[in-house]
Symmetry: C2
Subunit: 653 residues, 2 copies
């Protein structure tokens, strides 16, 4: 049993000026756009072909499989996004589309429950022979997650039955028993899905299989044996290779998929960042569900490693494009990094599952750090252009010229050949209600601040909470709290680590409320007649520096306000942003944005080196500096105007 | 006919406190060390196996070929270095070793003149089937250069006969005639060698073949056809590939080997940097030898592109490790770059050949920029450790952690699997005499400043020149000049572009000597009775900035003095070099080095941000700065003490 529980949709409805816009965007723009993509109806973008793949696998169309070996997952993530949106409000048109897709998926599922269009179409006799590279379990996981989401929203169980058949089929293939594969996924994800399936059904077999995948990983040479059996042929280039999978970077090929050690012995986040955080998510979930202290301790150590050494200030993770991977502590370059949007979403998942075992603000702090910066920044303000890679400094000319920066796109793209990020954003944004609160027997924890109406069940009775806020632009949060079926209860409110000060009022009276060690103020009150709680987090611009071991940021500062990281754009500050030095001794002014309604921009002072016209490559330094105004916008809103340079870590005067 | 001519060894002997040490180091340390390497007698270093390969090819040993497909060239470059050293002073022991190697090479040469141990041992029926990837012409070029060097030093023609047989064999394989391959090398080098062979023998066939290789390049689809014929199999991974060779970076696969355009139409330096400058060297040589103005104009445009947009201040070229290649203008990152030692050597070659057609200081300026910084920096002060990659900023922790910086070694290596750089240094340093002067009918051009005794032939008579200098630490150069067989002549002395001022004295009297447009002062005098010419180049520390389009260097300056670029090392300035800001308003003091005799170090003032002990990844900026002393050492001497950080472009206050 989890020590704390996540809330159910029935317990909380977001109603928030900031987030309503995003939910509408996902429903009205992102999901329809992605539907067009999945059906290959968007010109000039990477073709998807994924719906066609299912029809071909089902035999209703003829043709070849096209796309990545994990192309199916695009459909499944779209389905999950649809389910998450329908859970907020049902919609006939959208359900009709989803039902059509589910029907096609059902037709593509084989008699024994197997479901993967690549293998069904291309190599039906090679199923489960390349678990390391070929994503069958990954796709299965996404299907199961999509199925649960759609079922939860609509109550239609046809999709869930496909998921049961698929999960049951996987159980016949993998496991400790003789004759089964003693393996685990090359791309973690099925573990998360099986644990959700266990939640929905209570069927312990699903939890057991998830546990098997987690605990067997890194304990045997499954991938090496599999590699020998397939004659050392690499899936990607069809050539004989020395190692079971590509060696993406200077670390062992085992690090890439996190099988370098049994998971309980892993202490540093390593390898492909999305694989890593998906795995840690499942580990944390399993640890909570089974009260496995050793496993939780391993999760905690991995968490600490990320947060104290491998986390961008924007909530990004993954310092290198080579293997889309973690590297080592303090290696956080700003313009050669990766920081995949999906990885930050995975980090939110991981943090959320940690909250099942421990109420500590570090988890919600990081959820909002990732959400308000990298995740939101992964999409433009119209919901139809996306970043896969999220740099902290961009010079478009360098992205074009430098091979080490060429993976960084200076403008958001319509779609990607490997299109994991856009649907990942689409499934995450409508499900933020589930991050707002957790609860135990007597206490409701308020983690994220967003206008909402909730009724959270406690051991006995429940707590009605209406939350009002203009977060993230204001630090004022007002709670109207009323208990039902009990009198006293506790509301624990996160005081984010970014807040230098805060006040708490109960029924209009300021009270002295200490922050507990875990970063929450605990308000134990009689809520029987309703009580107004007001928290004000002091929200002013902060000037931050990095730990000195992040050499890339020496002599530089970043500016944040609340959870929002700010950046400089060429559109406001002209070209050659690194000619500017920020003056930390001058005040930073908060100004309402002219470009985005409700958004707070910042204005600061600095100096700028005069940039003369010059033809020589090197010349005598003149060093003329003049004072200048510095205009800063929220990082997540960058690149919504004229494309150009962007800079997060500014040079400091 | 070249407009200007390079001098012959008989015309000039270097005798210089700075350079004598390096010549001795090459003779007494580098060449013997490399001999041990070639014979696999150095423990803990990359094995060479190259002498064994020749013995196996000759049939005197049995075994497999080992090493790179171009492993033979290590032996050839060693042989060239030996020849260059013996040209200065013959040495029985060294000659005995070389003669032994030549004997082995001769035995490895096939009856028809073919010479390449990889193909002779491994794939005797596949010769000349993969000219793009497999370096047969490259190795042949290096052998011919080695042979000429050894013959020139010793007069022993056995080695030259092997070269003739090899060149004649190549002539039967390549050329415009039907039945021959209408191809050109995948790695340019043979063109340089054939032009040298033409110089030595006067045999025009060799020049014609070089011209054929140069002019055919990029005009047909030879490499594509060859690729189809070998069934699209890539040499490196033995797999079927989409393109004839690996696509190393975002540019076309054709750019890598510079066959994207006919060479006369190429306007930007692109692709593998060493291949590029070797090709440009041959182009410039051919343009001079055949008075081909169009070809010279192409060379000049490529030169301008490099010098005005793609040249590191250290004389390094090649901004990316991916393909060891040029990228685009102003893309000059300091810590992800490549700047291969060999590429800077090739740039010296290119510049020297440009001097055959045009007397302009840009060529000698760049020769000394490359030589005194990247080339010398490629080797340690003991002659037994080498850099392949020459970064301008190093943080050892980042080199370890960051995949985009992992190619940068923070300490010089004993040897390399691909061991081109050490022998390239070894062959270049003893041959610097040939860079000191060029001449035409009436004028001797003094390009590089180094103590030397010369007698340079003119159209009629000659000019005896004794040069004394403490360059590069002093800007004073004294020439004792005496004409023989004529009275009047002209000595043209380069005034380097780095010199802000200079004085010229003739017979002790300061004269007003204008710098001509080409950067030389022309002193036309009656030298019949001998005349002392003294030039003093004002040599003080300069503070340089980059063109603003080099975004990587915005807000940064570098310090140079004369041709020497300076840098900061951790050994003198502590860790976290980027915490230091250089103060350009304070004087820079010249101080004699305590570590290296005769060397001038620099001391400057600046401020340093206090680096507190901190465990958090991000924290409030305090911004305490204190004044600090900055100690700078010549870039070429970095990493000769305790390993640590190094920085060339300092933050400026």
């Amino acid at each position: 049993m989890e020590k704390y529980r996540l809330i159910d949709k029935t317990e909380c409805t977001i109603n928030d000026s900031f987030w309503n816009r995003y939910t509408a965007l996902v429903r009205e723009s992102v999901i329809p756009y992605q539907w067009e993509i999945l059906n290959d109806r968007i010109p000039d973008s990477e073709p998807s072909h994924s719906i066609r793949n299912f029809k071909i696998a089902a035999g209703t169309l003829t043709g070849e499989f096209y796309g990545e070996v994990f192309q199916d997952s695009d459909v499944y993530k779209w389905l999950e996004a649809v389910g998450n949106v329908l859970l907020l409000e049902r919609n006939q048109d959208l359900e009709a589309k989803a039902d059509e897709v589910i029907c096609i998926i059902e037709e593509a599922q084989e008699a024994d429950g197997y479901l993967n269009t690549y293998y069904s179409i291309m190599e039906p006799d090679k199923k489960w022979t390349n678990v390391l590279e070929c994503h069958e379990l990954y796709c299965a996981g996404h299907f199961i997650e999509g199925a649960i989401s759609y079922f939860r929203a609509t109550g239609k169980d046809r999709v869930l039955k496909i998921a049961f058949r698929l999960a049951n089929h996987i159980e016949t293939v993998f496991g400790p028993e003789e004759g089964k594969l003693h393996g685990y996924p090359g791309h973690q994800e099925i573990e998360i899905a099986l644990l959700r399936l266990y939640e929905v059904t209570g069927t312990k077999r699903y939890l057991d299989l998830a546990k098997y995948f987690i605990d067997t990983r890194g304990t045997n040479d499954f991938f090496e044996q599999e590699f020998e059996k397939r004659d050392r042929i690499c899936f990607w280039n069809k050539a004989k290779e020395q190692y079971p999978n590509r060696r993406y970077n200077q670390f062992s090929y085992k690090n890439y998929n996190q099988f370098h050690l049994p998971v309980r012995q892993q202490k540093e986040a390593t390898g492909h960042a999305v694989r890593a955080v998906y795995m840690y998510t499942a580990m944390a979930d399993l640890a909570a569900k089974t009260e496995d202290k050793e496993l939780f301790a391993a999760c905690k150590e991995l968490w600490e490693n990320i947060v104290s050494k491998q986390l961008y200030i924007t909530g990004g993770i993954g310092s290198t494009p080579s293997g889309e991977a973690f590297t080592l502590g303090y290696d956080l370059p700003n313009d050669t990094n990766y920081s995949e949007t999906c990885a930050s979403i995975g980090l939110m998942f991981f943090a959320q599952k940690m909250l099942l075992s421990e109420a500590n603000r570090t988890y919600a702090d990081v959820i909002e750090q990732a959400l308000y910066n990298t995740v939101l920044g992964g999409m433009n303000d119209q919901g139809n252009r996306f970043f896969y890679v999220n740099p902290l400094a961009v010079v478009p000319e360098n992205c074009k010229a430098s091979t080490e920066r060429n993976h960084v796109k200076p403008v958001r793209q319509k779609w990607f050949a490997c299109a994991c990020c856009p649907p990942n954003i689409a499934r995450t944004l409508p499900s933020l209600w589930q991050y707002a609160y957790t609860a135990d027997k007597d206490t409701v924890y308020s983690h994220l601040f967003m206008g909402s109406e909730a009724e959270i069940k406690l051991g006995e009775g429940s707590l009605e909470i209406k939350q009002e806020t203009n977060y993230p632009w204001s630090g004022k949060i007002k709670y109207q709290v009323k208990s039902k079926g009990r009198d006293r209860a506790t509301l624990a409110i996160r005081i984010p680590s970014w807040a230098p000060a805060y006040t708490v009022k109960v029924a209009g009276q300021e009270v002295s409320a200490e922050v507990a060690d875990n970063g929450y103020v605990y308000l134990s009150e009689d809520f029987a007649n309703g009580l107004e709680i007001e928290v004000e987090l002091k929200m002013t611009a902060r000037i931050l520096k990095s730990n000195k071991n992040v050499h890339y940021n020496l002599g530089r500062v970043a500016v944040t306000r609340g959870p929002i990281v700010y950046c400089l754009e060429e559109a406001d500050n002209g070209k050659y942003l690194d000619l500017i030095e920020f003056d930390p001794s001058e005040p930073i002014e908060e100004v309402p944005s002219k470009h985005w309604s409700g958004v707070t921009e910042l204005k600061a002072a600095g100096v700028r080196e005069a940039a003369a016209e010059e033809s020589e490559l090197y010349q005598d330094y003149q060093g003329q500096k003049e004072t200048t105004e510095i205009q800063m916008v929220p990082y997540f809103l960058w690149n919504n105007r004229t494309p150009g340079e962007m800079l997060t870590w500014m040079r400091v005067k």
